[in-house]
Structures are given as C-alpha cells and as structure tokens.
Symmetry: C2
Subunit: 111 residues, 2 copies
C-alpha cells in the first residue's frame, strides 16, 4: 500500500512540477500554455500534469479540444498538516516567505 503522502511529496519533489503549481496559482491554464515557458517537449509536460493529477494536486477538465488545469489545494493541505507536526511552526513569516519564493524562482530559471 502506498500512502497518499507518498505521491504528494514525490510530485512536489520536481522543480518543473512545483513551477507548474506556481503558474496555476495565478490562473487556470490549458496544457499547451502550461508547457510554453519550459524547454521540454509537450509530452513531458503532459506526463508531469499526469503526476500532479494522480497526486490530487490539480484537476484537469476537458472542454472542447483543450484540457484545462486548475489547482486543487486539498491534497496540499493534507501534506501541509503532516509537516506542521514537526517544529511547531508559527504563523507564516511573510517576509521570509517572499525571499524564499524569490530564490526558488531564480534557481528554477537557471536549470
């Protein structure tokens, strides 16, 4: 048996997939549009979206010939709850968080 946390964390372990989640945080997107900023094939992105879907992090809904991807925060919430057992995290420090997101973005673009 594999716990849902296995798939959620495994999905989050890839920088491309985290970047996709960030993009979807801003707006729902079609598969092709998700793929556009990346330097890899559409098929590769399609696979990544499959991983995110299986992990329950996004949902995909086909309308016409385009498949829309939208964030589904429930699985993330479960994982977040798990993590908070360690370290008794205080309320999010937004300053630290923004600095953090910035370095994340930079390290992505230099992949």
């Amino acid at each position: 048996m594999t716990s849902p946390l296995d798939t959620v964390f495994a999905a989050l372990a890839d920088p491309t997939r985290r970047a996709i989640l960030s993009m979807l945080l801003e707006d729902d997107m079609a598969v092709t549009d998700v793929a556009e900023p990346f330097e890899m094939s559409l098929a590769a992105i399609s696979k990544h979206l499959g991983v995110l879907t299986k992990a329950g992090l996004i949902v995909q809904e086909k309308r016409g010939r385009v498949k829309w991807c939208k964030l589904d925060p429930d699985a993330l919430r479960a994982a977040s709850i798990w993590m908070q057992s360690f370290g008794q995290f205080e309320a999010v420090n937004l300053d630290a968080f923004e600095r953090f997101l910035e370095t994340e973005t930079i390290s992505q673009s230099t992949n």
Copy 2:
C-alpha cells in the same frame, strides 16, 4: 542546480523515511535503534538516514561508536512555508491531524 526543496520533498516521499522522522520526533536515537522496528537491513536504514541528513531534515552526531540521530526542523519549516502559499491554510486542525497521523501509521504497518 537542484533546489533544497527538491531533496526535502524527495526525502519526505518515502514512507520509511517519514516513519523515521516520526520516531525521532519522540526522541533522539542511535542508528541501530532506528532500524529495529523495520523489516529491512541495517544498511538500508543507514542509506535512508543519509538521505534525510543530506536533505537537512536530521543531523547525525557520532559519540563513541554510536551515531545519534536527531530531528532538525529547519528544512521542514522551509518546505512547510512553501506549501502554505497554496490554499491559505488556516491554523492546524489538531483533531484532523491526529486522525491523519493514525491512518498514516496504519498504512505503514500494512506495507
């Protein structure tokens, strides 16, 4: 370049490693004692501890011939902060959390 989040989430993606973290949450432990409840070789556990160490989730300190493992919540905090950008998580619901930990433990023992 690989982001620290890559290694943290990858480390968390394995149920054995999450179980080890749970154990270390209660107390610092020697490698042999960490290995005891698991049905795999000591070498395998040693590898898992290596992964957790590289991810910064634990620290290992050798004293005499035994190597002590203790939790290091800093890396987890960073990952947790990242996750909280999705879903605007409210303060932890402790009831839900305990139910959750329970199912986690069960799904582990039936591996």
